[in-house]
């Protein structure tokens, strides 16, 4: 469906998912290649969050298949844990661990999941905290940081595991407007360094800057998938045009 270079790292085939009577995904297929940066947008309830939450199995699809890095997702807990190690995720609500310091947030999974030594884990954590520009906050607790700082810590925490893919689930939607830029800058930096990225967002400036591919979803289906230039200048579907008008107008 999507053209690009490199081998496929995520293959999603005919994914379906309902919550009770609400149908979130109606047969979605999508391939992501190594190094590719995909931005997904769409109105609320269009299934975009559900789609990326299926990639690391935070949601269990009703039918369809997902293969991540050559491993098919099933009920096999070990396989799921293995895939989650390769896939970093950043949430809308940050979800930092409030009882741990910033540094401990970043080292916890390194030590217990990746089995690195305390020292190695702290070095990696420091490296990524520097790259998200908050090394000086290392010994504070998440509750003492601003929203933008917390989200940057969350990005560093995910990157510390050195994942092959990063998933962002509306990373700036819970932030005050003046903090959005600092988080987007960090995201741009990592996306441009070649990290495979799937991002659900309405930040079209970010999308224009980094996306190799834009996807517009509505009512549980992919309505349009094209390169950013075509997507923003001459979208094929009326529904996409309407949506873009709505979010770009103000």
């Amino acid at each position: 469906m999507v053209t690009g270079k490199g081998e496929k790292i995520i293959e999603i085939n005919n994914l379906q998912k309902s919550f009770g009577t609400f149908v979130a995904l109606r047969g979605v297929s999508l391939n992501v290649r190594k190094g590719e940066r995909i931005v997904i947008c769409g109105p609320s309830g269009s299934g975009k969050s559900t789609l990326i939450r299926c990639i690391n199995r935070l949601e269990v699809p009703d039918s369809g298949s997902i293969v991540v890095d050559g491993v098919a997702l099933s009920d096999d807990v070990k396989a799921i844990e293995g895939i989650r190690r390769q896939v970093g995720m950043v949430f809308q609500q940050f979800n930092l661990f409030p009882h741990l310091t910033v540094l401990e947030n970043c080292t916890l999974a390194q030590i217990w999941v990746a089995k690195r030594s305390q020292k190695a884990a702290e070095e990696t954590a420091q490296h990524y905290l520097e790259r998200v520009h908050i090394p000086e906050q290392m010994h504070k607790y998440p509750g003492q940081l601003s929203g933008g700082q917390q989200q940057r810590v969350a990005i560093a925490r995910a990157l510390c595991m050195e994942p092959k893919v990063m998933l962002y689930d509306e990373p700036t939607s819970a932030l005050d407007p003046e903090m959005i830029a600092e988080v987007l800058d960090v995201m741009v930096e990592f996306a441009e360094s070649g990290m495979t990225t799937v991002c659900v967002t309405h930040e079209m400036g970010f999308a224009r800057k980094v996306a190799d591919c834009m996807i517009f979803m509505d009512e549980g289906k992919i309505v349009e998938a094209s390169d950013p230039n075509t997507f923003f200048t001459k979208p094929k579907s009326e529904r996409t045009k309407l949506f873009l008008n709505q979010i770009l107008e103000h």
Binding site: N56, L58, V77, E81, G82, R84, R85, V87, G88, M89, F91, Q93, F94, N95, L96, F97, P98, H99, L108, A109, W112, V113, Y141, P142, G143, Q144, R157, A158, M161
Partner: protein
């Protein structure tokens, strides 16, 4: 002085007499309180017998008979524990109360290590010390344990063991992917919570031996402990479940998304946060358990209240004011312990709600 008097009058008018109905109510309730305080004060102190023996108590029957408590005091505390061996109980109690005092005081260094010591080393060490039977320590069978030390043993064993069991049960109850485990936990919790504590004690005291081979002589105290552990685990499980449900779903998702296993996420992320929310609930369960220990009377163990009752029924101490004295003494002691625990629970609660998302 005039100013102060006016302030007092103003306070009276604003708080107690702001309408005539309110005024009448204040006078009636206030009078009633004063009357009760006067009666109690008179009974406890003014008309009480303070020295001498039972003859003195018989002569002054409208007050408490404190010589009864004084003479019986060591039995109330140690039960039938042999007098020469009581230093062992004293050592245990000293360590117990010192440990608690150190933990209550928030600036104690190495609190984590003290907690670990109190939970892991101390219970076993004190069991062996009080039980004896090695290194020349005389064997003191649990049948001779009694009084306040028995109350403390039962209550602390109940609370300390119920916490890990309660955590496991609560996690099991939330394990949607393991229907059998979940069903077991739900049935276990609801069963023990739905049965009166007395029934549980009866069941473990008299029915447990039926399931054991005849050769196994199962200590009566251990049977009572099993009963306490069963029902306190069920109560604790519900407290823990409250803590687990108080956490945002994002905490589970974030630890999952990092690739943590179920137990890694529970031990490193979920429980440390949930336990903090749960501390007041845990302390309240402890208060309940502390009071419920008196029920071992029913299976023939003489705890603090049991020893007092035994003392009361001693014909040598036959005087009408002796039973009242004994029960009043028990009430005061239980009240002091429970009230200080509930004060501490309230203190912790306030501390945590003050710094919700800050560092606690």
């Amino acid at each position: 002085m005039v100013g102060l008097g006016q302030v007092f009058l103003l306070w009276l008018r604003e708080n107690l007499f702001f309408s005539w109905r309110n005024g009448v109510l204040s006078v009636v309730v206030g009078g009633f309180l004063l009357w009760i305080i006067f009666l109690l004060g008179d009974w406890f102190f003014l008309s009480a017998t303070w020295s001498g023996g039972i003859e003195d108590c018989r002569m002054r029957q409208d007050g408490a008979c404190w010589p009864f408590v004084r003479v019986r005091f060591s039995q109330f505390v140690y039960g039938f524990y042999p007098s020469v061996e009581r230093w062992r109980v004293n050592v245990v109690m000293f360590v117990f109360f010192t440990g608690i005092a150190l933990l209550v005081w928030e600036r104690t260094p190495w609190r984590g290590k003290i907690v670990l010591f109190m939970l892991c080393v101390f219970p076993l060490a004190s069991w062996f010390l009080m039980r004896g039977g090695f290194f020349g320590l005389a064997d003191v069978s649990t049948g001779r344990w009694g009084g306040f030390m028995l109350t403390l043993v039962l209550a602390s064993v109940g609370i300390v063991t119920s916490l890990p069991f309660g955590i496991l049960l609560a996690l099991g109850r939330r394990a949607e992917s393991l229907p059998f485990v979940k069903a077991f936990c739900v049935v276990f919790i609801e069963f023990w919570r739905g049965v009166p504590v007395i029934t549980v004690l009866f069941a473990t005291a008299f029915m447990l031996p039926l399931f054991m081979p005849a050769s196994v002589n199962f200590d009566q105290l251990l049977r009572a402990m099993v009963g306490f552990i069963l029902f306190s685990s069920a109560y604790m499980a519900e407290v823990v479940r409250g803590g687990l449900e108080g956490l945002q779903r994002g905490q589970y998702e974030a630890s999952d998304a990092l690739g943590m296993t179920y137990w890694q996420s529970r031990i490193r992320v979920i429980l440390p946060q949930a336990l903090k929310i749960m501390i007041p609930g845990i302390l309240l369960t402890f208060i309940g358990l502390f009071k419920d220990t008196t029920l071992v009377l029913i299976i023939g163990l003489l705890d603090f209240l049991g020893m007092i009752q035994a003392g009361i029924s001693d014909p040598r101490w036959g005087a009408p004011n002796v039973p009242f004295t004994g029960y009043a003494f028990a009430a005061v002691v239980y009240f002091c312990f429970c009230y200080s625990m509930s004060l501490y629970a309230r203190h912790i609660e306030k501390k945590f709600s003050a710094g919700r998302d800050r560092r606690h």
